[in-house]
C-alpha cells in the first residue's frame, strides 16, 4: 500500500487539475498563457503565509498563528513608512523582516514562555496588530514607492512573475530541504508527533516552537515586502482575511492541525488550488460569494479527508503484530 502522505499529494494534484478544468469550462479566457502569469501573481504572498502557518502548526502544541495577516499589514506599513522618512528602501526591507520576526517573537513569548493557548494568544495579538495598523495610518494607504521596486512583484521573466523566481521558489525549496533533510526538520516533526518523547530524546521542544513563531513572523515580513512592491503602496488592511486563508491553505495541504504531519509540497499545491479557484471564478465573473463558499467547503472537506486517512493509518498500525 502506498504512503498516505504521497497519496495526499496525488489527491491534491488531482484537485488542481479539476480546478483547472473547471476554470476552462467557466471562462474562455482561462486557458490563455497570460492567465498563468496573472494566477502566479497571487501565489507568493499567500504561499509565504501558508508556509509560515504550516511551520507553526507542524511543531505541535497545538500551534496556530491567527495574527499572521496582521503582522503582514504592520510590516508593510513600517517598510513604506521608513522609506517615506528617507531610509534606503533595501534597509527598510531588512528592518521589515526583522520587525516581522519581532512581532512573531511576541506571539512566541505568550505561547511558549507563558504557555497561553496559541489560539487565544494570537487572537489577542491579531486584535492588537491589526488595530495598530489601522490606527497608526488612520486607515489610509502609504504610497510613494518607486517604480524600480515595483519590478520585484510586477516584472515577469519567461511569463512568470519575478517574485516567484526570486523569492517564493527559493524559500519553498529551502524549507523543503530543511524539513526533509536536516536534523532541525526531524526535530520539528518529532515535537509535533509526540512532545514528550521528543523532549525525552533531547529535543528542546519549546525553544524550537519559539523559533518557529519568530520565523513565521519573518516570512510574513517577506510577504509584506512583496505586497508593497506589488501595489507600490502599503495598505493597512493588506493582510485582512489572510490569517484564515493561510490556515485553510496549510490544512488543505495536508498539515495536521495538531502537528507532526505536513509537507511543503502539499501546502504549495494547496495554494495553487485556492488561487486557481479564485482566479477562475473571478474570470468567469462569478460573485465573491461562491469563492467564499468554495474555500469554506474545501477547508472542512480537507480536514474530513485528513481524518479518514489518519483513521486508516491507525487501522494499519493495529494490524501490525506487536
Amino acid at each position: 500500500m502506498k504512503d498516505p502522505l504521497t497519496q495526499r499529494l496525488y489527491f491534491l494534484f488531482g484537485l488542481l487539475v479539476a480546478a483547472c478544468i473547471l476554470g476552462s469550462l467557466l471562462s474562455p479566457y482561462f486557458l490563455q498563457v497570460s492567465t498563468l502569469g496573472y494566477l502566479l501573481q497571487y501565489v507568493p504572498i499567500l504561499g509565504l503565509l501558508g508556509l509560515a502557518q504550516m511551520l507553526v502548526m507542524l511543531s505541535g502544541g497545538p500551534g496556530i498563528d491567527l495574527s499572521i495577516g496582521a503582522i503582514m499589514s504592520l510590516v508593510a506599513l513600517a517598510v513604506a513608512g521608513l522609506f517615506g522618512i528617507g531610509t534606503p528602501l533595501l534597509l527598510a526591507c531588512l528592518i521589515g523582516v526583522g520587525l516581522g520576526g519581532l512581532l512573531g517573537a511576541v506571539n512566541a513569548m505568550l505561547v511558549c514562555v507563558l504557555k497561553i493557548p496559541s489560539l487565544m494568544a494570537t487572537l489577542a495579538t491579531f486584535f492588537a496588530y491589526s488595530g495598530l495598523a489601522l490606527a497608526l495610518t488612520g486607515g489610509s494607504p502609504i504610497g510613494g514607492i518607486p517604480n524600480w521596486f515595483g519590478q520585484l512583484a510586477q516584472g515577469r521573466f519567461l511569463g512568470v512573475p519575478l517574485h516567484m523566481w526570486t523569492v517564493f521558489v527559493p524559500i519553498a525549496v529551502l524549507l523543503h530541504v530543511m524539513l526533509s533533510q536536516t536534523r532541525t526538520g526531524t526535530h520539528i516533526y518529532a515535537a509535533g508527533n509526540d512532545e514528550r518523547a521528543a523532549f525525552l530524546s533531547g529535543v528542546r521542544v519549546w525553544r524550537l516552537r519559539f523559533a518557529l513563531y519568530c520565523f513565521g513572523g519573518a516570512l510574513a515580513g517577506v510577504a509584506a515586502i512583496l505586497t508593497v512592491s506589488w501595489f507600490q503602496a502599503a495598505r493597512p488592511d493588506a493582510g485582512k482575511g489572510m490569517e484564515l486563508l493561510s490556515v485553510t491553505v496549510a490544512v488543505l495541504g495536508g498539515t495536521h492541525i495538531f502537528g507532526g504531519i505536513g509537507r511543503v509540497m502539499g501546502t504549495v499545491l494547496a495554494v495553487l488550488i485556492v488561487t486557481t479557484l479564485q482566479v477562475a471564478l473571478q474570470l468567469a465573473n462569478i460573485a465573491q460569494a461562491w469563492q467564499l463558499a468554495a474555500i469554506g467547503m474545501l477547508l472542512i472537506g480537507s480536514v474530513v479527508a485528513d481524518n479518514a486517512v489518519n483513521a486508516r493509518l491507525r487501522a494499519m498500525a493495529r494490524r501490525v503484530p506487536a
Partner: protein, 298 residues
Amino acid sequence: MALIVLTIIFASRSEFFLSERNMTTILRNSVDLSVICAGMTIVIILGGIDVSVGGILAVVAVLIGRAYQMEAPDWLVIIVGLSAGAALGAINGTIITKTRVPPIVATLGTMYIFMAILFLVIGGVWISGLPNTLSFLVIGSFLGLPVGLYVIGVIYLVSWLLLRLTPWGQRVVAIGCDEGSARLVGIPVDRTKIQAYALLGIFAGIAAVLYVARMRNVEVNIGTNIAMEAIAATILGGANIRGGKGSLIGALMGVLFIKMTQNGLVLIGVSSLWETVVIGGLLVIVLILDAFETRRTA
C-alpha cells in the same frame, strides 16, 4: 474591578460619560453582543469555540429582512429567526461531532459558507427601511429601565439556570473538564455538544432580531467583528479557553468593558480606530495575568 477603574478614568475625562443618556446608549449598543456572549460562554465551558457566530447573525438578519419585505408579521419573523439560528448552530455542532474536525477549523469553514449565503441573498445591496415594530425591545423603556436591560436579564437568567441547575448544564461542565471521562461515564457527549452549539445559534438569532430592530436595515458587512468581540469578552470575563471553567456574569462584565472602552475612547476624543488596539492589549494583559495565576496554583 477593572470596570470601576475604567469608569473613573472616562468619567474624569468627559463629564458626558456618566450621563444617563450615555449609559443607555452603551447599554443599547451592547444588547446583541451580550446575548451572543451568554451562548459563547456555554460553548467555551464545553471546551469548544465558535468563530462563525457573526455569520449566523448575518444570515438570520438577512432572512429576517427578507421576511419583513414579504410582510410577514412580527411573531413569524421571530420564529423564523430563532429556528434558522438554531439550525445553523446545529449544523456547526454536527460537523464538529460527527467529522471530528476541530471546532475552530469547522466554524472557520462554516463562517465562509455563511458569509457566502449572506452575499447570495443580499446581492450587495442593503436591505433598509424595515418596520420599527420591534424597536421597543432595544430602545423602549419599562418601569423606568430600558427594555434592553430586561432582555439581557432574561437571557442570562435562563442561561444561568440551564448551566448551573439542570443536569444538562452539569454535563456541559463535565465535558469541558474531561471529555474522555465524560464519555466513559455515559454522558451523551455528541448530543450535548450539538445542543450547546444550537443554543448559541438561537442566541445569535435573537441577537439578529435585536440588531434588525435597532438598525432597521441589513448591510453587507454585518457581524464581521462580533465573533472576535464575543470571544474576547468571554475570556476577559474569566472563562478558560481550554474548557471546564467560565462565568456568565464575568462574560457580561467583559461585554460592558469592551463597549465602555469603545464608547469612552470616542468621548475623550481618541480615534475609534484605536479601540481594537485597546481591546487586543487588554486581552493580552488578562491572558498574561491568567498565565501567572495558573503557574502559581499549579
